[in-house]
Symmetry: C2
Subunit: 345 residues, 2 copies
């Protein structure tokens, strides 16, 4: 079973997946990519439903059975999960070290039966179905009291870590709240306690005011290059209205999110020649009920604000970034926003 281990010095949890057990000879010159879309057989193509673990949910045409053709979006467990779904979260210590059994969910959201159709080129109504699948899975998994957090993410292109070319996203549910989310939560909390305002709402207001980093806005959503972008052409996408969790998004607003996502993905594709990218959804953590406190997070509904962080993978991270956590970004976000606004789509 995989283990969650905590480094006592940096307070960082790591998943050590002993099952995968990669030995020195497993790390070739192109070590992390299995097939990478070159192989002719794709387990995510329509008709190959038997080659994936059994589907959990799918957006299906009427009268089609699970694990058969006829789906638009399909969610299955990851065949090579980083964390395992069966078991209890046992917590143990060993001297100064802490560990936990590697319990969690690891799922794949197959975004379309079409092997070559990516978000930038999909119909908005199809992107809406992908977002529907994200929401359904979060709503379902957050009922599992073993899990503290559900992270939805997408790797596009081998340079961004995608091991299969067929369009897909992933989801990992973990028994801990991941470090970056924790830092955001703590900082948003302390801002709220001081000012009685959401820091994300303040940021949206300031960005809409100056406009120099804005890339897209519609009635419900905005997208801009953040002031302290770590990476060239980094983008954040947020709901204009204050909302702590992605899963709270009303169905009637989801189409607007699909429109926003498609728009900025097309802009990235045109501006940067179809770059590899990652995106992650940062939503509020699962609430942890405590005796006499129905919601451990208390003011969470006021102080956190879900958002999507989109990172084109254009630069390599070197020793300085790894060692310091201080990023060097060679493209000012104001410049990046200007290119993205002005590109013809």
């Amino acid at each position: 079973m995989p283990e969650l281990r905590k480094d006592p010095i940096s307070d960082r949890w790591v998943v050590v997946s002993t099952e995968r057990g990669r030995r020195p000879s497993d790390f070739g010159s192109s070590p992390t990519v299995e097939g990478a879309g070159e192989s002719k057989f794709c387990p995510f193509d329509e008709g190959n439903e038997g080659k994936t673990p059994k589907e959990i949910i799918a957006w299906r045409k009427p009268n089609t059975a699970p694990d058969t053709p006829g789906w638009d979006v399909r969610v299955t467990p990851n065949k090579f999960p980083a964390l395992v779904i069966e078991g209890e979260v046992n917590r143990t210590g060993m001297g100064i070290f802490d560990m936990m059994s590697g319990i969690g969910a690891h799922e794949v959201i197959i975004e379309t039966p079409n092997h070559n159709l990516n978000i930038a080129d999909m119909e908005e109504s199809h992107i809406d179905k992908i977002l529907w699948a994200y929401k359904q899975r979060i709503v379902d998994l957050e009922k599992d009291k073993r899990f503290r957090y559900i992270l939805v993410f997408k790797n596009y292109g081998t340079a961004a870590g995608a091991s299969l070319a067929h369009p897909h996203s992933q989801l990992i549910a973990t028994p801990i709240t991941p470090r970056y989310v924790k830092l955001e939560l703590a900082s948003a909390r302390s801002y709220f306690l001081e000012k009685e305002r959401c820091i994300f709402c303040d940021m949206i207001r300031q960005e809409l005011g100056t406009g120099e980093r804005m890339v897209y806005e519609n009635e419900y959503f905005v997208a801009f290059t953040p002031f302290a972008s770590r990476f060239p052409f980094e983008l954040w996408l947020l709901p204009r209205r204050h909302e702590a969790g992605f899963q709270e998004l009303p169905d009637e607003e989801r189409m607007q999110l699909a429109r926003c996502l498609k728009d900025i993905m097309m802009r990235l594709k045109k501006t940067l020649n179809d770059p590899p990218y990652n995106y992650v959804i940062h939503t509020a953590p699962n609430s942890v009920p405590r005796p006499g406190k129905p919601d451990y997070w208390g003011t969470i509904n006021y102080d956190f604000h879900w958002h999507i962080e989109i990172i084109p993978r254009l630069t390599k991270q070197a020793g300085f970034e790894w060692g310091s956590g201080l990023y060097i970004n060679p493209t000012a976000p104001e410049e990046a926003a200007k290119y993205l606004r002005e590109v013809k789509i």
Copy 2:
């Protein structure tokens, strides 16, 4: 001038180097590598001293002049610095955003005149001279009251971010303490306040006790794969004796460090077929004098412990890691240590 910008939500500083100003067309399929050792001309080769900025220090043969041949190790400013050395650190705010002028030092330590000789294959006495250069530069730069921190790091191989093949390390002095170092400092501080012991010393004791993650030890130094390794074959190298700053290392112990470094670099090279890697030295931050307090860091000499983190670059970081700060390591550190211990060098 480059800018240091702070993201108010994650409390993360970023260097936005507007001068380099990379536009969309600058990001090709292999964007970050200039030449990467394929070009015939190398500015770091002996005889080409005129092609680098003027040397700051060098370990030289007697009666040789600066910026001429006759050196063993040579330090110069980086020709394309991420931060600039001239100017004051002006701090400004803009709504919820904070920024600082991008003042700092960015230097290159050319490790040898030999274009193809890397640490694994150098004489120990030569590695000693490289370590001497690191120390000299830290001791000199920490006198500059504008700087809070000096980070020495090395990128080996293009996959690790090296832009020139000639063996070299780098150093960046910054007006802020980088985020990861800050987290380590805070955690070591709170451990010391609770237990009156250094957390690193405790970790060394525990690792020597179990032995399962040990790779190398001599009279003064140890190297092991950390319990919560983020990456396959990650290694930490620490002085056995408690010591806060790398620059405090007595000259007579430096040769033992050279021996330790050479040993583990040879083991990495043999075990993993000469992998790309990064290393960084985490030392105590420059002390910041305050009125009535000669050393702002107070107990720093007791609670921090310098070390070198070595990261072979064998796996790609994907969306999950970027989005969460939670790493998935497919090789247990106990396994990695076993391979490294048993390889013939």
